[in-house]
Subunit: 502 residues, 2 copies
Amino acid sequence: MSQSFELLKARVRRVVYLNQAAGLLGWDQQTYMPAGAAETRGEQIGTLSELAHELFTADETGQLLEAAERETEGMEADSDERRMLALLRRQYERATRLPASFVAELSRHQSHSFRVWVEARARNDFALFQPALEKMFDLVGQQAGYYGYRDHIYDALLDGYEQGATHASVAAMFAGIKPALVALTQAIVESRRDESGVSALQGFFPVEAQRQLTLHVLEAIGFDLRRGRQDEAAHPFCANFGRDDVRLTTRYDTAHLTQGLYSSLHEAGHGLYEQGSAPEYEGTVLAGGTSLGVHESQSRLWENLVGRGRPFVRYLLPVLQRFFPDALEGVDAEDLYRAVNRVEPSLIRVEADEVTYNLHVLLRFEIESDLLTGKMAVRELPEVWNARMREYLGVVPPDDASGCLQDVHWSEGLIGYFPTYSLGNLYSAQIWDALRAALPDLDAQIERGVFAPMLDWLQQHIYRYGSKYPPAELITRATGAPPSADHYAAYLQTKYRDLYRL
Amino acid sequence: MSQSFELLKARVRRVVYLNQAAGLLGWDQQTYMPAGAAETRGEQIGTLSELAHELFTADETGQLLEAAERETEGMEADSDERRMLALLRRQYERATRLPASFVAELSRHQSHSFRVWVEARARNDFALFQPALEKMFDLVGQQAGYYGYRDHIYDALLDGYEQGATHASVAAMFAGIKPALVALTQAIVESRRDESGVSALQGFFPVEAQRQLTLHVLEAIGFDLRRGRQDEAAHPFCANFGRDDVRLTTRYDTAHLTQGLYSSLHEAGHGLYEQGSAPEYEGTVLAGGTSLGVHESQSRLWENLVGRGRPFVRYLLPVLQRFFPDALEGVDAEDLYRAVNRVEPSLIRVEADEVTYNLHVLLRFEIESDLLTGKMAVRELPEVWNARMREYLGVVPPDDASGCLQDVHWSEGLIGYFPTYSLGNLYSAQIWDALRAALPDLDAQIERGVFAPMLDWLQQHIYRYGSKYPPAELITRATGAPPSADHYAAYLQTKYRDLYRL
């Protein structure tokens, strides 16, 4: 019916495969690549990315896109074809708004700034990083200008990570949960109760047994190891090169059992989402997760809503005892439940518990907004960071390495990215409530290690749609209501007031 | 000085990086890729290869090449620049001589024919493969026509694998060694002596210990594990993506110690050659080995001339005894030497010993030449194969799976490729003689496990030149004489007449 549409798809398929190849080179870089290959690998990935960008932003793509839009005018607005073209239009407009010279300058500064950040963090020297970060905020401000925005400069950036989200919507979301989070955190700290379970996860846990354990759990929850695998990496991540090649990484700590296991569960949430994308979307822009926020909702759903819930812990205990009979001897499910849900305000975002995590994100959201609009100067960052840590979490970093230098994001120009972590938490609780309503036996199923009904529901309501729907629409379709902070707030209150008997 | 030359280099660099990326995807396919990803992986590799081909064969490449040739006319004929342009000219001419429609048809038939071969070999059914092979010889004949040739159609194909080699030169080479090989094989078979050492390599050899052993030996001979690694694969190979990322694969057999170790040594020979390419050639066509034959000379040099020599065996024995104290108890160096040099006519080329190996290649060379010129029909293949096996080696395959269906090459259109294995053997002995002349203490060094002087000589005389010189010129420069079969013939006679006391 539509020759231009087919030609466009063929062109986009090449872009997709180039990006997937670049993704594999990146995965390899963090897993098996010999150290000496780092420099060349950067060049190889850069070349693939450049070629993908050139191919996608070429005039011919724009012409085919226009022609395909005309050809499909008569189709249903909700058809895969028209949704695909809408997404391509959005991506094409964003990609072509940046001048090539700007893209090159930004890319150069990203490499430079990342290297400087690595050194500054290692030396605990914020002053070393300051000029690079100033330039980065300046460049990203220009980038937002190229993209354009209506209400707030932040919107232009955030929209690239979470389509449709705005500074105002994120601020409202945080306003809705911040007082409760701060109060809950404080109440838990003051209660100082229930530390009894902590010792349940101490001992010596050999790497090979942990590897077997995590693979056992991955298979149990439904991660398809015929279309995926798991390796080790210093900073765990999930990468995929199509729905049939989804790779998790994790990191084992022989002194702490939870790190590897919950890191695996988290990445598996990302992985299940990618594996569940409809097969007919392969090689198109509709394949794979629709946004960072929805992606994070799946990693957090499996890690926290499932993984740190009582039913899962009851399923898990005998499994752990099979793999580590000595260390887990005499531990009961309540001990384990308390151990994996310990709340303690701490300095590092990626190690934070469910209650305090979003306060870490809020702080970053506020600061990056103010840096972007100029309300705050980069040189003030350490001071403001430490003051807010004290205000929100009651702890103050002893140095900038464990304070404002801890995250890689800003050094790479990822500004407007942090809120997607909290949006993911919010979505996860809303999806969880919908899931529980649809599957009244869910708790009992999980306790028996039966995950197929749950995975199937996620598959049918979320995973298979890939990127067809923007995040808010997908959440609304899946749960029957637009995204709201209420589910997450209620989840935390119920769970932790019970746990800490508040 | 030369803008076009720089533009051309930048363009070629992209082609090189695309091909390196495709190479990594191929390596991953054979090592870590989940099985379910096979189909998509084919598409990804295909896309990268197509893009590399399009970029290289574009008119703009030709124009830049012409301009760069003019710009560099005043430079020395032996300069890197002019050698690089000569090689690019050769590659450009070959690549642009094939019409795009023919490339597509050949590529489609390669996939088809490979799949049919896999099935035919599994079912031991030559008739199933026959039509695909007939079409393959027809297509490859057309390909030779596009490339053009002067004396023999075979030359057009062989030249692609071994620049400058011809049907006549290969035929002359085989004529020079065939009678001696046949006679030596027969004499050894009739002598039936010295089977005593065979038991030295039987026992149970756990995979992990073999892995540690091979890594120990790789490091000892000078393979740089900071710029390379070793993994396992069903069919061992060496792949590299630049000189700083060279990956060997090997395969362990817990019942036989030699398989993993000598496979490692073989692939390490390829790997050392790639790691030794001059750093300034990176990202250009001068990087990496100059031909299949010279590459094979290095794998065979390390595997056989070094690895199966008495000095190396004396170095190796205490190493083996450290890794496998029980299995190697009471074994002496002479036992081990005989065990790793056992000659026995057999059916499978890749498992053949040094003496019989080239007879396997000769048979393939004769048959593929006759199939190409039409002197022989594809349907006669099983009969001719078996008759020659009896004539050259005194053994007859019980079925086609272990006869004419054993090698993958023809199914993929690799015709004119086999002789490079024998050329490699020839070069290896000639290089070995030059090396021994230059390093009078070589035997004593190897026996002490000191490989640096030898590696350094190879580095200075062969490796660093990458693809700067065509094979015959490189051999001449390194050894002081053009390639000759005499060194290899003398090597075999001396070694095996001594071993078998003939």
